[in-house]
């Protein structure tokens, strides 16, 4: 079903005009309300009057996660605090979180976008949907929740953590749709299998996202649960889940480009690339009031296709992600930067010990282990000292990145040294 046919099926010309009008407005907004952007634009010699349509987009400055860090917490907000009704936060590259704010209208538009995505997955008001993303500062839970409510579906706000309760309610309520990370859904499928219920579930669709997954994994989910699985994309800086989602033809994710203007650039030269070329995805928010961002570099690598889809939508499609142009890891839906681990270790130990982050997927759940070489200054002849060191490091890391981490002490000089750029991550998850 197409939720908003006017917007999702408009001609390219109409879309370009709409995007142009909205771009002019958003540039005006940030120039006058956000000092940081005003200075950035002035440094480039650009004024709002220079922006007349999307053909002028490349005159505008880029925004990165570092800009959000430099203006922490509210420096990029373009609405007064009295207009902000919600705050979300995700991981920053070091220490401080990336904070975003929403006005009431932002929340409404977000719900509209998520409703479009759910409708694309065939979900209607007649469905009972379990939202099994984490509720809280993470955008996944509340984002999916508001979207599903907007659609009129019956929402069961499960959050994460209690799979037994989830499967019990899934059976008892006759749940027909679920929103969660793909790896968690596989875990749920296994639990249902163990309980002997996998043949009896009424589930028909799943909207999965917040972590990278492959087409194979999608097909595996479909086959195991006899459902249709869809890929939803988003990031808190731009909105949260619901920036793009794939349709029943699974030939890329439709971007809700009346709200989020996409570009593909070369991460090296920062020059725009043409349709079909793989590069870094960049978004300009067109209707955001709380924290509108100009040309935000997502660091996600993909390509774009402007051709009309078999489903009837004309919205541009981005291909399944081909990786990242930075070293960010997504572990159980949580963004983790190796630099966060490094900063936490530094804070604890004075200088950074040699360490390695090992990411794996065991029983369909991501695991993160940090191995630290035992240097003389950490070593002790007493086990309780070594164990208390492990506990302290575990605690510091969990606080820093908000994810369960296993810390393991290893012998000195056993972790791999590289000649060039230091390698601090081994990702054993098979995602390709």
């Amino acid at each position: 079903m197409i939720w908003n046919e006017t917007k999702e099926c408009m001609s390219r010309d109409e879309m370009t005009v709409l995007q142009g009008k909205r771009l002019v407005k958003v540039v005006d907004r940030v120039y006058h309300n956000v000092e940081y952007y005003r200075k950035k634009m002035q440094a480039l010699g650009v004024e709002p009057g220079d922006i007349n349509g999307i053909e002028d987009l490349r005159k505008l400055p880029f925004t990165t996660k570092n800009d959000l860090r430099d203006t922490y917490p509210f420096g990029l907000f373009a609405a007064p605090q009295s207009e902000i009704v919600r705050i979300h936060a995700s991981s920053g590259t070091t220490g401080k979180a990336t904070v975003v704010g929403y006005t009431r209208r932002d929340i409404d538009i977000w719900a509209e976008c998520v409703a479009r995505a759910f409708a694309q997955a065939g979900i209607t008001k007649n469905d009972i949907i379990q939202v099994a993303y984490g509720y809280g500062l993470f955008t996944g839970g509340l984002g999916a929740h508001y979207g599903a409510e907007h659609l009129g579906a019956t929402v069961v706000p499960m959050s994460t953590g209690n799979t037994k309760k989830l499967t019990t309610m899934m059976m008892d309520f006759g749940v027909t749709a679920i929103a969660c990370t793909p790896s968690y859904l596989l875990h749920i499928a296994e639990t249902l299998e163990e309980e002997g219920n996998i043949q009896n579930v009424k589930l028909k669709a799943a909207i999965c996202g917040a972590e990278p997954w492959t087409e194979n994994m999608r097909l595996q989910i479909e086959e195991k649960l006899h459902i249709k699985a869809f890929d939803i994309y988003g990031l808190s800086e731009i909105m949260g889940p619901g920036v793009a989602c794939d349709c029943e033809f699974h030939k890329g994710l439709h971007v809700y480009e009346d709200h989020f203007l996409p570009e593909i650039i070369s991460p090296d030269t920062l020059e725009p690339l043409s349709e079909g070329e793989t590069g870094e995805l960049v978004f300009t928010t067109l209707t955001k009031e709380g924290i509108p961002l100009l040309r935000y570099r997502t660091k996600d690598l993909t390509s774009i296709d402007y051709g009309k889809c078999e489903c009837g939508r004309t919205l541009a499609r981005i291909s399944r992600f081909k990786g990242r142009s930075d070293d960010m890891l997504i572990i159980r839906g949580v963004n983790v930067f190796p630099s966060q681990v490094e900063a936490a270790l530094l804070e604890m130990a004075g200088t950074t010990p040699h360490y390695m982050i090992i990411v794996d997927r065991i029983n369909n759940l991501d695991t993160m282990e940090v191995q630290i070489e035992v240097e003389d200054r950490f070593f002790s002849d007493e086990i309780k000292e070594l164990e208390s060191l492990t506990k302290r490091v575990t605690h510091t890391l969990q606080n820093a990145i908000g994810l369960a981490v296993k810390v393991k002490l290893v012998e000195p000089k056993t972790l791999e040294r590289s000649m060039g750029k230091a390698v601090h991550v081994i990702d054993k998850r098979k995602l390709v």
């Binding site: 070593f379 007493e382 086990i383 002490l409």
Partner: protein
Amino acid sequence: MFIKQLSVFIENREGRLEEVLETLKQNNVNIVSLSLADTSDFGLLRLIVSDPEAGRNALKENGFSAMVTDVLAVRLAHRVGRLQELLDVICKAHINIEYMYALATGKDDASIIIKTSDLNKALELLESEEVEIFTLKDIETL
């Protein structure tokens, strides 16, 4: 008088203990006694050796984490309840035993290695109990 114990960090990996022993052998360091403590992720090997400093240097050169610490070596008579009597003295002074293991067993007596939360105080107490405390020299000749 304390003696020196050599402590080595060992990952739970095949062959690591053997490699420690190999290194000590290559450097002509004799093992008098040892205790191996294990946790789920790593082991801690504590050794009384003929030359702890030489042992530590050799191990470090071969990439191991090793350190030398002070411990007490006590000779006690082969008699029921003797160890309990000594520990009673230590416990009454509110000193914790961190770890303990056997050093050597003779015909008439036995010896133990002991590490306590307050080593000086423990030494003082044991000396007043008229037990024999080993010196570094004693170990070298064991």
